[in-house]
């Protein structure tokens, strides 16, 4: 409890200082009092507009994340056990991994138009990399003795993959999913900032143009909550699904 | 006056809001130059005892004195050897042995030469510029030994130092430790769960009880020195061995019945 209070000390102090500063009248316009932001949030909840934008954003991020993570994990696990698959992906991934995928965004807009398809494509691409790499290394670093002992107990190659490699790689797969989830939100916001007519990123951009800073902070708050909530969900899923592999070591951040 | 004095020592830990007594009143006197082994079942608090002697863990009740002065924290008068070696992986064997001399502020030329001399003592002169990752377990422990001896500590505190080695290497290391002990005459406190190791090396063996740890038996090993490995074939040795085995077996059974939580 005391630890919690100390942990909340800095953020709470900052909020109060912010509130006071905003109310003095000497602050620039973009410093909006937190209480004003809450008021705007309440108004947007009542007229439902916040749900519309949040819903669109969540849709883009989850669809993009789900598709990208599915293919990334599948390809990564297969590449981890099958040499020809590894040979196909390895040079492509190692050449393009350090390249910021976001640079493709304007190009993808010219290919698919500025609608949702382009946003899905770029999120899928961005999520593919971390999920591929994590599950690839996860599958590749499964201890030999585990595979040998499964073979010794009569498991077929498919059974070894399904019942030994996949579960053993799971902690790493989850690390990849976590990074991918964070990325999908980042790309979602960025692509909506660049071109959209609905969604939280759009809301920030539009609020910026009309100098409605209160709306801007509302959107920021929601994006922050989404990021935080998604990460917590992922952690809970990880703890529930990987009981034996996470005992004694709560996953840190990063 | 005793050299090392353990005076009614008590240690408790709090785990999940339960107080667990790890050490329950240990009294022990050690003379200068004596080689004392402490054996006991897992979780009996023997490693905790060593950590308190080293000054890493504070004393709850009782007192520890070295040469009449209370032990209050870590210090270079007590050299500690860990089972995990605790070598610095970014330094060569020679660099590791030089490390404490740098801390002490010894001039460069002198510490280079001193470190070389101590690498010779542990027969590692040929591995001077190897990194720990390039050394075998036995070699790593010899580097750790040289790194400790270079400070000329008054006492060596060894925590299952050969526990991670294979049995052949372990016997060689035991023989080498006795040789170094013979040359330097250091007082040694040696924690182990290996009965043979304790008898072969020591002047005295202290058997501890299962948790909470107390001294169950403390006796002298009157085997002639210098000892060679073939001493293990003599009936006198076998008698000591059987004695410790009987003492320890009861405690191992008792320890097995305990719950695993709160083990120090």
């Amino acid at each position: 409890m005391i630890r919690f209070l100390r942990g909340a000390a800095v953020p709470v102090a900052l909020l109060i200082a912010w509130e006071i500063y905003a109310r003095t009248g000497i602050a620039p316009r973009y410093v909006v009092a937190p209480t004003e932001v809450v008021k705007t949030l309440w108004a947007m909840t009542l007229n439902g507009s916040i749900f519309k934008h949040t819903g669109r954003s969540i849709e883009r991020a989850t669809v993009g994340f789900a598709v990208g993570a599915f293919f990334g994990t599948l390809a990564g696990l297969t590449a981890g056990v099958l040499k020809p698959v590894e040979n196909f992906y390895d040079p492509i991934i190692s050449l393009t991994y350090p390249v910021p995928k976001i640079a493709l965004l304007p190009l993808i807009f010219t290919w698919f138009g500025i609608g949702d398809t382009a946003k899905f494509v770029i999120i899928i691409m961005a999520v593919f990399y971390p999920t591929f790499i994590a599950s690839f290394y996860g599958a590749k670093s499964v201890e030999r003795v585990l595979i040998w002992s499964a073979r010794n107990m009569g498991a077929s190659r498919w059974q070894v993959f399904r019942r030994v490699v996949v579960p053993a790689a799971m902690p790493q797969v989850f690390n990849g999913l976590r990074v991918g989830l964070a990325l999908s939100l980042i790309i979602m916001v960025t692509s909506e900032l660049i071109a959209a007519n609905e969604g939280l990123g759009y809301l920030i951009g539009a609020a910026q143009e009309s100098l409605r800073f209160d709306i801007m902070y509302v959107a920021l708050l929601i994006i922050g909550l989404l990021g935080f909530g998604a990460d917590r969900l992922m952690r809970i899923a990880r703890r529930k699904l990987l009981v034996g592999q996470t005992l004694g070591s709560e996953a840190g951040n990063g | 006056m005793p050299f090392l004095e353990i005076d009614h020592l008590v240690k408790e830990f709090t785990r999940k809001e339960r107080v667990i007594r790890a050490i329950d009143g240990i009294d022990l006197m050690v003379k200068e130059g004596e080689f004392v082994s402490i054996v006991g079942p897992s979780g009996c608090g023997k490693t905790t005892l060593l950590h308190m002697l080293a000054g890493f863990v504070p004393v709850d009740q009782g007192a520890l004195r070295l040469d009449g002065k209370p032990i209050l924290g870590p210090g270079p008068d007590r050299g500690v050897i860990f089972q995990e070696y605790a070598l610095f992986p970014w330094r060569t064997a020679h660099g590791n042995v030089m490390w404490p001399l740098e801390i002490k502020g010894v001039p460069k030329a002198e510490r280079e030469a001193t470190a070389d001399r101590y690498l010779d003592l542990v027969h590692l002169e040929g591995f001077r510029d190897h990194y720990p990752a390039e050394l075998s377990g036995g070699m790593k422990q010899r580097v750790a030994l040289a790194r400790i001896l270079v400070l000329d500590p008054r006492i060596l505190l060894m925590d299952e130092p050969f526990g991670a080695l294979d049995s052949q290497t372990r016997e060689l290391m035991q023989e080498e430790l006795l040789e170094i002990w013979g040359k330097t005459g250091k007082t040694v406190i040696f924690i182990t769960h290996d009965i043979d190791e304790a008898i072969y090396l020591s002047d005295r063996v202290v058997v501890m009880t299962a948790r909470p740890g107390k001294v169950k038996e403390d006796f002298r090993v009157d085997l002639p020195r210098p000892r060679r490995l073939d001493i293990k074939k003599t009936p006198e040795y076998a008698a000591y061995r059987n004695k410790v085995w009987d003492l320890l077996h009861v405690e191992v059974i008792a320890a097995r019945a305990q719950t695993p939580d709160g083990r120090a």
């Binding site: 304007p106 | 270079p76 801390i103």
Partner: protein, 260 residues
């Protein structure tokens, strides 16, 4: 078996997918299935890249992008290492800052960019500030965790050999945490480039992100791809440079390879 052809065969077996993909691209470009303007031939992209490289246009934009990315990154290195180390060594600082980092970590900070524009203006400062913030999170957390993960015995060994707390920090904790700290750098540096390019796409009149965005907006996909190639080369080169540095700084550990 002579060594040379077998080497060549190994090389092909390992690298065949790259030329394969490029060939597919070229076939699509010439096939007439799509407008060649959308999938321009590699030759055309190369020509434009070469032209803008020689005229200095690409170099100009690259310099700006690099200045922003590296400027923010280096500031994040200094601040992140200091704060991470302070958190790991001091209970009060830890209690005050750790929640900000563990709670704030999963929040997409790029959304703050519009706010930063108002505080720092449209130019370099807002982008450097965002790179700094993003890099700071990663580097602080890695430094913190790296120092916290140093085995007790290693610290004990140091203190029993007479090291004081300053010596323990510089001669035990810091080198022992260095591999982890470098892992943080390797995550933060590509992120720095991503942030700069994204913000340049959102609103700027200079930098590689702007170059790509402007070309795409004028439906000049070949030029856009030339810009993407420039970003790719920088991203690749920065990562390799960091690996090189890491393998020298953390020489006692197995070498880092190109992938995370």
């Amino acid at each position: 078996m002579t060594p040379f052809p077998s080497k060549l065969r190994d090389f092909l077996a390992h690298w065949y997918s790259v030329p394969l993909l490029l060939a597919c691209w070229e076939i699509v470009s010439h096939s007439g299935w799509v407008q060649p303007r959308l999938v321009p031939s590699l030759m055309l992209i190369g020509q434009i890249f070469w032209r803008d490289l020689l005229s200095g246009v690409l170099i100009h934009h690259t310099t700006v992008t690099l200045y922003r990315a590296l400027g923010g990154f280096l500031m994040a290195v200094v601040a992140g290492c200091t704060l991470g180390a302070a958190m790991a060594r001091n209970r009060t600082i830890d209690a005050l800052f750790e929640p900000i980092f563990s709670f704030g970590f999963p929040i997409p900070r790029i959304a703050l960019y519009p706010v930063f524009i108002f505080i720092f203006g449209l130019g370099d400062a807002s982008k450097i500030a965002l790179v700094f913030l993003e890099g700071m999170f990663v580097i602080t957390l890695h430094t913190y965790q790296g120092i916290r993960a140093v085995p007790n015995t290693m610290v004990w060994a140091g203190s029993s050999m007479g090291a004081n707390s300053r010596q323990l920090f510089w001669r035990v904790l810091l080198p022992a945490a260095l591999p982890m700290i470098f892992t943080g750098f390797r995550i933060a540096l590509p992120v720095a480039l991503i942030i700069v390019v994204s913000t340049e796409i959102i609103g700027e009149s200079v930098g590689l992100g702007y170059y790509i965005q402007f070309a795409s907006a004028s439906f000049d996909d070949a030029k856009s791809l030339a810009g993407i190639a420039a970003v790719a080369i920088i991203g690749f080169a920065l990562d390799r440079a960091l690996i090189w540095l890491r393998n020298r700084a953390v020489f006692w550990q197995p070498e880092a390879v190109a992938l995370g």
